[in-house]
Symmetry: C2
Subunit: 265 residues, 2 copies
């Protein structure tokens, strides 16, 4: 029996309910991680997801950020913060334990540009994430890290790696920070299964016709700990929602795992 996990930066959940509900209906993932809810907790459309057969754990915030995990079974644990004592945290992290497997959903800061403080904040976020994984989890456990990671790991993961080398989301310091997190014990399952495939998950609104011309980036990822990654059957970005009338700038990514090959649950 395959276990399906997905991620989707919705760019405003209130403006994206139709495509999200249709996507849930078509794919029936066991868990769907959402980023950029851009709404407060009180405005989160809990009922609509319940009617669609999904539990929802979420952390909203006014206007910006906001993350959720929708799931067909109820999480046994939910975490909403790193809990490392840094104050006034933004709503960029949520982790849920589903049938014994942790799913960590992050909306990594975009970073603006390497010259700005936002870039350091982004790098620091990766550092905090690594420390948090180190302190709370074991790489030997089945665990998924997913979300809008806001880094294209390699040249194949963006439309113009030469021109964009050193820019935000494709900068050596970001690659280093991401690699440090992965070194904890996480595998990019899309790239594991498709070593040579160029497949994007984000196309900038501000670039004219970016989706039609496929001028995109692979910024949304599904990482898994080693044993779980070995049980991964497939991972794909689904460009369909990005082709619609008023889409998010991101599109969903999903992965299927054969949990029986794992002995989990």
């Amino acid at each position: 029996m395959a276990w399906k996990v997905a991620t989707f930066n919705v760019n405003g959940i209130r403006s994206r309910m139709a495509p999200v509900l249709e996507w849930l209906d078509r794919h029936r993932p066991d868990a769907l991680c959402l980023q950029e809810l851009k709404c407060q907790n009180a405005d989160f459309p809990l009922d609509a997801f319940r009617k669609a057969g999904y539990f929802a754990a979420f952390r909203g915030q006014k206007a910006f950020n906001g993350v959720a995990v929708l799931s067909r079974s109820e999480p046994s644990e939910v975490l909403l913060e790193f809990g490392d004592g840094k104050p006034d945290e933004e709503a960029r992290l949520i982790a849920v334990k589903l049938n014994g497997i942790w799913i960590v959903n992050t909306y990594v800061p975009q970073g603006r540009s390497p010259e700005e403080p936002a870039f350091e904040y982004k790098l620091d976020f990766f550092g905090r994430l690594k420390s948090w994984l180190d302190g709370r989890f074991e790489p030997s456990q089945p665990l998924v890290w997913t979300g809008d990671i806001n880094v294209a790991p390699e040249a194949i993961d963006l439309f113009d790696p030469k021109r964009l080398a050193g820019k935000v989301s494709f900068h050596p310091r970001e690659h280093e920070a991401l690699a440090a997190v992965a070194a904890w014990g996480l595998v990019d399952v899309f790239r594991k299964l498709h070593p040579d495939t160029k497949q994007f998950t984000f196309w900038d609104y501000r670039l004219p016709q970016s989706f039609k011309r496929n001028l995109g980036w692979r910024l949304d990822h599904i990482y898994a700990t080693r044993t779980l990654a070995d049980a991964c059957l497939e991972c794909q970005a689904d460009g369909e929602p990005r082709g619609r009338e008023t889409p998010s700038d991101h599109t969903p990514v999903w992965a299927e795992f054969d949990l029986e090959r794992l002995g989990a649950e």
Copy 2:
């Protein structure tokens, strides 16, 4: 051969192009008067109307008001102001001469409430209109006055005349002002043809389920000078557009005239 004239307060032409073009296609009026364009001249969708086979005369304004007349033949004259010397006028009047018949399209100020200056401005608008008709036209000529008149003439023309008596759009001073314009020589052709029919043209967004519960007002009218009114074959409000997904708060009204009974053109 019937001559068909219609009026539609669109509440933002840019947000209402689909229903307007479909309505034009289905009804093929000789003239369609629009109010509340809510766009500047530069943003008026002239090309789309041309493709649909219509000429357009219009007076836009940023954010508010804005009036247009779409017509299958090109107007021989267009007027955009009362020209009575009052400054800084809002885009609430357009008149076009079509095949020898003047069509006067107004978006009469709503008036807010009888206690506010906006109410006096509304009454003054009727006064200016009357003077303008007096100075420029003859009631013996065929002439149509239509648009969002923002007054329910009689008790039958709103859903709760008792509770709303004396409120804006159903106030004695508005009735007086409207009657004074009509006394120039204009007949409400809907009421002429349907003396006892309760039929609304506006349902407030702010009243829950107002359209479904038919809690409406007849605020959009087609007046004609005597000889033309006598040639009127039919006049109806078409509720269909108001029943759609994201409708205007108003719905179109149309009237057909038998011009041969007139000897016009």
